[in-house]
Subunit: 221 residues, 2 copies
């Protein structure tokens, strides 16, 4: 199933013990890729990895060790800890493709809403901190519920991949393509990442109104 270029690479997932990180790790492992979960607690990461053993090759360790081990490193941490974690890992992440998947959202009684980000978006914040890495944004709008559900065979959604580095966005598109039902599409430059992150708030509104686990398809492509 996988792109031949991908099968030799290790995929690290920082913040890999949350639902979104666990879910992505499950899908990549199921596609035959080597996955390393990172967490603030190496123990919790190892536990989460053990729970995914039936899906494929997943191990767990600290965020720093996962960052060092990964060829492609997904960032799936809470927005609160985003800048701090990345600033602590500039060395481990140097030269690597870093895929920011973080949605800066607030929540109140009326649902979710986009938080302002001084750099424009979480992805641009990552790019500003990780000047030695190749930063891409992707996997923002994928339902964690569907990713985590082993009975869901196909995750029917497009993944918009944002970035200014064509080789990196191409590779991350092919990473999305390894998951059955998922399709990676180029979605624009880093400066257009904000609205894709924020769009998750709209999908949360859709989920509430229609009792759904909504995703998004681009038509005519």
């Amino acid at each position: 199933m996988s792109d031949p270029e991908l099968t030799s690479l290790t995929i690290a997932v920082l913040g890999g013990t949350g639902p979104q990180g666990r879910g992505l790790a499950r899908r990549f492992a199921a596609a035959g890729l080597d996955v390393v979960l990172g967490s603030r607690s190496a123990e919790r990461a190892a536990e989460a990895a053990a729970a995914l053993a039936s899906a494929g090759r997943v191990r767990g360790t600290s965020n720093a060790e996962a960052a060092a081990a990964g060829d492609i490193v997904l960032v799936v941490v809470p927005w609160d800890g985003h800048a701090g974690l990345l600033a602590s890992l500039t060395e481990e992440l140097a030269g690597k493709i870093v895929v920011d998947c973080v949605n800066p959202l607030g929540f109140d009684k009326q649902g979710a809403f986009a938080l302002p980000v001084p750099e424009g978006s979480a992805t641009q914040q990552a790019a500003a901190i990780l000047t030695g890495s190749r930063v891409v944004g992707a996997f923002h709008n994928v339902s964690a519920v569907l990713l985590e559900d082993p009975d869901v065979e196909r995750v029917e959604t497009d993944v918009l991949v944002l970035g200014d580095d064509r080789e990196a966005t191409d590779l991350v598109q092919s990473l999305a393509d390894v998951v059955p039902g998922m399709r990676g599409l180029y979605g624009g430059r880093l400066r257009n990442a904000h609205q894709v992150e924020a769009f998750t708030a709209n999908l949360i509104s859709v989920n509430r109104r229609y009792k759904a686990h909504a995703g998004m398809r681009v038509t005519d492509v």
Copy 2:
């Protein structure tokens, strides 16, 4: 085809001589609705309406007269003139459902990008100016090329309808539903309109990369 509540209503399209306005007017007229195109120049509006005569009942007049005539009034003007036009029509638009379709975008060599809006979004700006109207955001991501092409029978896209007034968003959803292939979906509150407007920049990036006229579908709904 149409919702019975809609067939008795007049749909006004302010800025109706541009591609998006003409295209929406064509589709609503083809669905059997009464459409009034508005423009700064009543003459140009009348010309544009005449060109759509084969589609259905469309007439053209000034923006002010169209605003006064419409039960549902779509705002499809360039972002530059958005605030000024609405401020001049507060009286004509009082008590009406106003559907803001405007995408505040800038363009340079690298493509389209979202412009900052002090009120948060064009839709919120409209709501701030038109305090006596029922402001909804919708039709942001629909390809004008597809809308205008008489050979395109179905416009395959979802229309996210944003607003805080349930009755108004429901009616605008049913307005989207009259166009074959189009589906109106509730997409969240006014505060989540920005990213739907800005998402048009991503679709423009998609169109460039894939030579497409991209639209968007929400999955699992």
